[in-house]
């Protein structure tokens, strides 16, 4: 069975459970603080950092304004280079297309490059239902898959696991899926990585079909770009006969030269490196159309909407589609640090998850409607986002939409807060209660709050939009949902 976020509880409930897990909190805290530190050093190294961010935001806005022509360009260029382009309105359609393509090859086991989109649409489970075993090959994705777990971060999906947990998963599971873990495996990270190398090597060498996502899709040239560290991406993109790339329609960038902006921002912001070890780019089947023995002989590109056009229609929210999945917003987020990624009930956790999931899926579901409340509005994410997404604007706008939605009529408005997550469960409840005691509150233009919420109100003018804490909101609407 492949686990999924289907039917996941709303954020307050899920968060309360996760916050009680001491080990998880410690793992997440350590990992996020490490990446934060590395990122800060590498961003500071570029005196033109803010200019790169300006350019990235501006280019992505051009993408959103010209999406139709970009996609048509991609289709034309990929087709001309020997690839086949497919379009999928939603997850079910995308899964059906990929499943049919794999079935046509007759293969029962395929390899995958880590892709958040294929996690979003639940591709592994769909393939499994069709009798096809899709093996993840990124180390963290392998840890998640072997542990029958769910991803908790967009860059490091197994960030919630420590080395001992990983060792135990490898020892227990590797043998059931291929080459077993070496005898006497310790929990040294280098040994664990070596165990994964050995386990996956035979899968790469035998794989006939690979599935990937893409970090960028260049409209002008039809070029796909995959950025990775381990070489598992290169293995999949190079050794399989058939390559199927499943890409969200918002991943385009207008021109080849625009990559100079995104490739300089992405690794610095994601992992605190100047460039990730490997960046692979390809256009269809290349100049020889696959005849030179370099790379696959068949290439399929599946362009997926799955809610992106819904987000695009939201004037404030559409900026969330600029996201290049660097993970910096989750690494910096005080709420994510306490709850980990699973509380968000989606492969997109943290601040981007709090806005992107409701924008992709709509606010009718109590789970997605709870996410805009999963924030203290401290604005730290605004400061690190390489494409300058204004999270606080979008969060407030979405809260207003929840309040105005009719489904959850506004009886009162209180300041949204997750202050309690900051410490532990008892403090969480106490803080939530204290927020509750603030009672009906329409915010004046400027307000000073005590405690963990004080910081942002010192420096920021608060727009007077009706808001309430997500816990208050949850309590109030829980009955409606049932």
């Amino acid at each position: 069975m492949t686990r999924s976020f289907l039917g996941w509880p709303a954020f307050p409930e899920a968060a309360e459970r996760e916050v009680g897990n001491r080990q998880l909190r410690e793992n997440v805290r350590r990992a996020t603080h490490t990446i934060r530190g590395k990122r800060a050093v590498l961003a500071a190294e570029r005196p033109d950092w803010e200019a790169l961010r300006d350019a990235a935001a501006g280019i992505k806005d051009q993408v959103l304004a010209n999406l139709e022509s970009h996609l048509l360009q991609v289709e034309e260029k990929v087709t001309a280079a020997g690839g086949t382009v497919h379009w999928a309105r939603d997850a079910a359609e995308a899964n059906r297309i990929v499943t049919d393509l794999v079935r046509a090859t007759g293969e029962r086991e395929i390899v995958k490059v880590k892709s958040m989109l294929t996690e979003e649409i639940g591709l592994d489970a769909a393939l499994e239902a069709a009798g096809i075993n899709a093996r993840e090959t990124d180390l963290a994705a392998t840890i998640v898959q072997l542990g029958d777990d769910l991803p908790s971060h967009v860059v490091v999906p197994a960030l919630h696991r420590n080395r001992t947990e990983i060792r135990d998963i490898f020892v227990r599971e590797m043998g059931r899926h291929g080459r077993p873990a070496p005898e006497g495996l310790t929990d040294e990270p280098a040994e664990l990585a070596e165990a994964a190398r050995l386990h996956l090597r035979e899968k790469f060498l035998g794989a006939k079909v690979a599935v990937s996502g893409a970090n960028f899709l260049v409209a002008e040239t039809g070029t796909l770009v995959v950025v990775e560290s381990e070489g598992n991406g290169r293995m999949c993109l190079t050794l399989a006969d058939t390559l199927i790339s499943v890409v969200g329609i918002e991943k385009t960038v207008p021109s080849w030269q625009d990559l100079e902006v995104f490739l300089q921002l992405l690794a610095r912001n994601a992992t605190g490196e100047r460039m990730a070890p490997y960046t692979s780019t390809w256009t269809g089947l290349g100049p020889s159309k696959g005849a030179d023995g370099d790379g696959p002989q068949t290439f399929h590109l599946v362009l997926v909407d799955n809610g992106r056009t819904r987000a695009l229609a939201d004037p404030t929210g559409r900026q969330a589609l600029r996201c290049i999945r660097c993970g910096a917003c989750m690494n910096i987020c005080p709420v994510y640090e306490r709850t980990g990624g699973h509380a968000y009930g989606s492969v997109y956790p943290g601040p981007i998850g709090a806005i992107l999931n409701p924008l992709l899926k709509g606010l009718d579901d109590p789970q997605t409607a709870s996410l805009p409340y999963a924030s203290t509005l401290c604005g730290a994410c605004n400061e690190v986002c390489p494409v300058r997404i204004r999270f606080t604007d979008v969060l407030l706008d979405l809260r207003a939409q929840v309040a105005d939605g009719g489904k959850h009529p506004v009886e009162r408005a209180a300041l949204g807060a997750v202050g309690g997550v900051m410490e532990h469960q008892a403090a969480w409840k106490a803080a939530v209660k204290s927020i509750g005691l603030v009672g009906p509150l329409l915010l004046p233009r400027k307000i000073r709050l005590p405690g963990p919420l004080g910081g942002w109100t010192d420096s920021r003018t608060v727009p007077a939009i009706p808001r309430e804490s997500f816990r208050t909101w949850w309590k109030r609407t829980e009955g409606d949902a049932k």
Partner: protein
């Protein structure tokens, strides 16, 4: 029933996104803190960044002796089509020419691969291969555990924008910035997962 393509394009038009202004491009086109025309400084930065990754950097006037030194300990090396013969002249191990195409298992069993590159970036210590003469197909630079790459000084750009401008996006490209690595376990950097675990660069004038 409309097809998916028509429907997605219709939804995009219906979203009515207003036109966007041209993006500001005030970022640097060269590596910060140096004069791009000062070649010795650019090359020194390239060597420094590669060394930081744990790559070996050998600067030499001609390739043969440095290549032999970089390949020390290897018994076999994959030689892509178009690789200059003189690069392996000083080395006594087995040279596996990739024509006819070597079997995947043969590539996997080889100790090393020797290639040229098409461009390089000093600031990030990046090598860029486009499958042209002497660079090999992608599988050849992936499976052997040691990659030795010969770079000419004139191929080194100080920063990424200069390198992107000379590349052909129609070709399959691989940008290599240090050896394969992961930080997926507790954010501790481990060198060497699936790609070559060792990288050596021979930098020619």
């Amino acid at each position: 029933m409309t097809d998916a393509r028509t429907e997605i394009l219709r939804r995009i038009r219906a979203a009515a996104v207003p036109p966007a202004v041209a993006p500001p491009r005030h970022y640097l086109r060269h590596a910060p803190g140096l004069d791009e025309t000062d070649r010795p400084t650019v090359l020194a930065l390239f060597a420094e960044r590669l060394t930081e990754y744990g790559a070996t950097v050998l600067r030499a006037d001609t390739a043969a002796a440095a290549v032999a030194q970089a390949l020390d300990g290897a018994r076999s090396v994959v030689a892509p089509v178009g690789l200059p013969d003189e690069w392996t002249a000083d080395w006594s191990g087995e040279v596996l020419v990739d024509r006819p195409l070597l079997e995947t298992a043969r590539l996997d069993a080889a100790d090393a691969v020797l290639t040229a590159c098409t461009a390089a970036v000093a600031e990030s210590g990046t090598l860029i291969l486009d499958g042209g003469p002497g660079q090999g197909r992608r599988a050849a630079t992936l499976l052997p555990d040691l990659h030795v790459c010969v770079v000419r000084a004139s191929q080194v750009h100080s920063a990424l924008p200069g390198a992107l401008a000379v590349l052909d996006p129609g070709r399959p490209l691989t940008f290599i910035s240090g050896p394969s690595a992961t930080a997926d376990i507790e954010m501790i950097r481990v060198k060497g997962v699936h790609g070559p675990r060792r990288l050596a660069v021979v930098l020619l004038p």
